[in-house]
């Protein structure tokens, strides 16, 4: 690990504009430093900033960037109004990591693309202009949507998939003041040269994630995640679905996919196709097909496209069945559903 300076920002004012890498829970950045992928000369510790509350906000919630993942997942208001967010969080990482990882850190975590994590491989994301090492390599876990020859990595977060489905907004403070970006668009998609522009400008910091009033979506929302082991594994594909259903008719639909692109992938065409339709298997099947519109394999991962459609279908079916009183013991698991007898 390279030598670095460490300082702690006690106030948001001190953190904004600070030069260096921001350190919160450290569950990803410190790993990257240990393997030589991140080599910051300065670390600015923001873990003690007073951004550690979940507040009511215009019918929705405003989650501070330093709230720990575990605390969001267990928050009664989150469980009652945004159950797919809680389920997504509990399906990620391990209990220990969720206790340490923060909201902002979860958003800012790096791809787990093994070529990004291997400093000996070319990687436009890590070393702009060096090329994409993953293209033509071991690509079973790579993107099928929104990728370019510049980068085929996927964003690993479960939380962000649910946040995107809920129309969450990322609140950012920088030297130039405040700005807001929808979660859905926060992570840049790659361009021909590489992974795209950085989501944050130098000196900027995420302060909050704002969730709008879920209204009727609260009752019918689920997250489902496909993976080879039941816990402590990133998604092969995942999906968050939330539905508003009145008298058997879908009045509003949200659908986002995880594990398929460099950002949580909001399935707008599928959502539009569901609106006004009966909440039936046929409606969901049509929507699931639309969920991967434009998808194409980036390598050895063609199977991800049907899997993504099927996980979308499963999430829609589960959401339509209603959010359970309690989250299942195996959150988001394929095997956790009431639909499995």
């Amino acid at each position: 690990m390279n030598r670095f300076e460490y300082s702690r920002a006690e106030t948001l004012g001190a953190a904004v504009g600070a030069e260096g890498a921001l350190l919160a829970g450290g569950t990803n950045l410190l790993d990257l430093m240990k393997i030589g992928v991140a080599t910051p000369e300065r670390l600015v510790d923001i873990s003690r900033l007073s951004l550690d509350r979940i507040e009511e906000s215009a019918g929705g919630l405003r989650i501070g960037a330093m709230v720990r993942n575990a605390d969001i997942a267990r928050d009664p208001q989150v469980l009652a109004r945004y159950p797919a967010l809680a389920e997504a969080l509990l399906s990620g990482a391990s209990a220990q990591l969720r206790n340490a990882a923060t909201t902002g850190g979860n958003v800012m975590q790096a791809t787990r693309c093994s070529y990004f994590q291997d400093p000996l491989s070319p990687c436009n994301r890590r070393a702009p202009g060096s090329g994409c090492g993953a293209l033509g390599g071991a690509t079973r876990n790579h993107a099928v949507l929104g990728w370019t020859e510049g980068c085929i990595a996927v964003h690993p977060s479960d939380m962000c998939v649910a946040l995107a489905a809920y129309d969450a907004v990322v609140e950012i403070t920088g030297p130039e003041g405040l700005r807001e970006v929808p979660m859905e668009e926060f992570h840049p998609l790659p361009d021909a040269e590489g992974s795209g522009a950085a989501p944050l400008a130098p000196g900027e910091i995420i302060t909050h994630i704002r969730l709008p009033d879920p209204r009727a979506l609260a009752r019918n929302a689920r997250y489902v995640k496909l993976r080879e082991r039941t816990s402590f594994a990133f998604a092969i594909v995942s999906a968050a679905a939330a539905l508003a259903i009145e008298d058997g008719v879908i009045t509003e639909a949200r659908l986002a996919l995880g594990g398929v692109a460099a950002r949580p992938w909001r399935c707008r065409a599928a959502e539009a196709a569901l609106k006004g339709q009966p909440a039936t298997a046929a409606s969901f099947a049509r929507a699931a097909e639309l969920a991967t519109e434009g998808a194409r394999p980036s390598g050895d991962n063609a199977a991800k496209i049907p899997l993504a459609q099927r996980i979308a279908l499963r999430a829609l079916e589960r959401a339509a069945a209603g959010t359970p009183e309690r989250l299942p013991a195996l959150p988001a698991s394929v095997f956790a559903g009431d639909d499995n007898g």
């Binding site: 090492g133 071991a138 080879e228």
Partner: protein, 746 residues
Amino acid sequence: MDDLMNMQGQGHVRLGSSAGQALTRRDGILKVTGAATYAADNRPDGLLHAVLATAGIAKGRVTHLDVAAAEAHPGVVKVYTPQTAPRLAVSPDEKIHPFVWRMETLTDDSVRYAGQPIALVLAETLEAATEGARLLAPRYETEAHGVTLDDAEPFETDTTAFGRPAGHSSGDVDAARATAARHVSTTVETSQQYHNAIEPHAITARWEGDRLEIDTPNQAIGLSKQTFAAFLGIDPSQIVLRSPFLGGGFGSKAILYGGQMLAILSARDLGRPVKLVLRRDQMYGPVGHRAPTRQALQIDLDAEGNIAALEHDTVTLTSTFDQFLESASNASHSLYAAPNLRTSHRGRRADVGTPGPMRAPGEAPGSAALEIAMDAAAQAAGMDPLEFRLKNYAESDPSTGMAFSSKGLRECYAEAAKLFGWAERSAAPRSMRQGRLLKGWGMGTAQFPCPMFQAAAHATLRADGSAVIETSAADMGQGAWTALAQIAADGLGIDIDKVEFRSGHSDLPDAGVAGGSGHTATAGTALFNAGADAVRQLAELATNDPASPLFGAGNAGVTARSGRLYRNDDERSEAYEDILARAGLELVRGEGTGAREGEPDRAMFSHGAVFAEVLVDPDLGQVRVSRLIGAFAAGRIVNPRLARSQLLGGMIWGIGMALQEEAVHDTRSGRLTNADLAGYHVPVNADVPMIEALTVHEDDPFVNALGIKGVGEIGVTGTVGAIGNAVWHATGVQPTRFPIHPESLI
């Protein structure tokens, strides 16, 4: 010997006191309180931290290392490269015994696999050494490489792992095939796997003049001391090797590797203690792995469903500079009644580190393929998988004709099948459901040999009635500290709380290797014999002493129990301490050995039957092992609690091998893409919802005097095939490769 762990009971919960009792671990409190000292916990004064720089290419040579940059980094003390590294006393390729692989000690600039050590950096802190290694920024001249089973031509070989013959033939397979009613051909591939012990490979080395002290986790302390001495050119008596605890070994800590030698050489060169701890990613290369296999099985059946011929061929990989070939085909030698039997192995060479023994080497992948082939044959015969296996039950070892020393496999089948509810299985694939999920039931037979190695032990009875037992056993977590003490207590005829166990230290009598599932049998026999020898001496003292109530009873006329000798002809007895006191002795010391005399004339195996239930999502292909039940016949069970733990651990290992474990190479670079525990998946608790391991009673008067077989590895065998067959039953998709991927099932 003051530095030895005193394993006398320190607040542990004692549930039993001798062999057969489910005693809790004697070292449990030490481990859960952090008081147990592992190799990397040692911090001698003046310690230097060593970090390996490893190769980023699979083949070629290192053309440049920026030694100046590394040595300029604050805290870096020394950088060793092929130009400057201290040398072993003998060639790094010296084969002083069969369990020696090339000692990669920076003797030249060639690169033979990705992850090969190419330099060693020593510094005052771990951080400085780590950064120094990074600053070396090696440049290479690369050559074309290959890392997979498809990258080289097979070579013929006479031997596989451990010098076993590479082929076997009995009967006439071709003649039997010509007249067989049915022919079933099966191919199965298994992946490259890594041991992934949670404790990384570590060594702390310190020289005091010509005396070398080593703390390193090791599965074969006596042999390793000899090996270190031979490569260093010193006398074994100059070496102390301590290995009281291992955080898992699974075979990878039985074989010494060059990094350990480099730490020792640099400690001598620099005159300071040196510690080298591998990073997780560095454990994927220089310290062994299980090679991938491609296995082809042919089973020929007669009209009644009897196996007429069985043929099993394996192609597997080894490195370009050493040979360890996974002996997978041997799994077919002794399990099913095949009157005509042919097995073979071929090797290929790839630009990878040398494979090595990994929990159930040969048997694990071999059993996985054999059990799939057996289900294919059962289907061809139109029989239930269990019925088919019972029909082809081997009453004697088909490869040798020898009788089994004991074989409780029928009882295993019956017990496990009953508990599982196998009779309710519906035969057709995709015929069982749970809600929307496909449900499948599969089974496999487990089998593992019962080798014995060489062990010696001392058992000393002291004037106060307590005892010290000594043998340099290796506790990898399996429970040697506890199980061996139980056997020793029985040998001495005293309560286990009076037994102080000294172990894990090379000054003690050699307990042999903790491997091959033979450690408890071998070291236990030595300890039992040592105890019996001490009791014999006591009995001689007492029965020849007119002042003793035992006078005149003769050696055969007394029995030892609970710290006393009892006459067999009346009620009189005398305490050990009274016998010693009257004789004016502080102690008596017994000595014992454990080994198998001569060539066995019986086939010696543990057996078992494993039944698996899987649920498979028909749309998404995800598999969950919802129930896993095994019954095992493994001779005398020394400690049911520890044995069950070993068996469950083996079965869980099988879940990983069946569904998860797989090292993935980038074939272009030759590097692994998942060399960490985030990318290389092993099962987590949530993957094991219901699991049980039973043992059935088995008396074996032939395997050794104590009737002990072994439980360390057999749980892996049978399980992988059982899960594969359950997936097949659930989905109708015959497994051709492990691990089974979800996308292969949709």
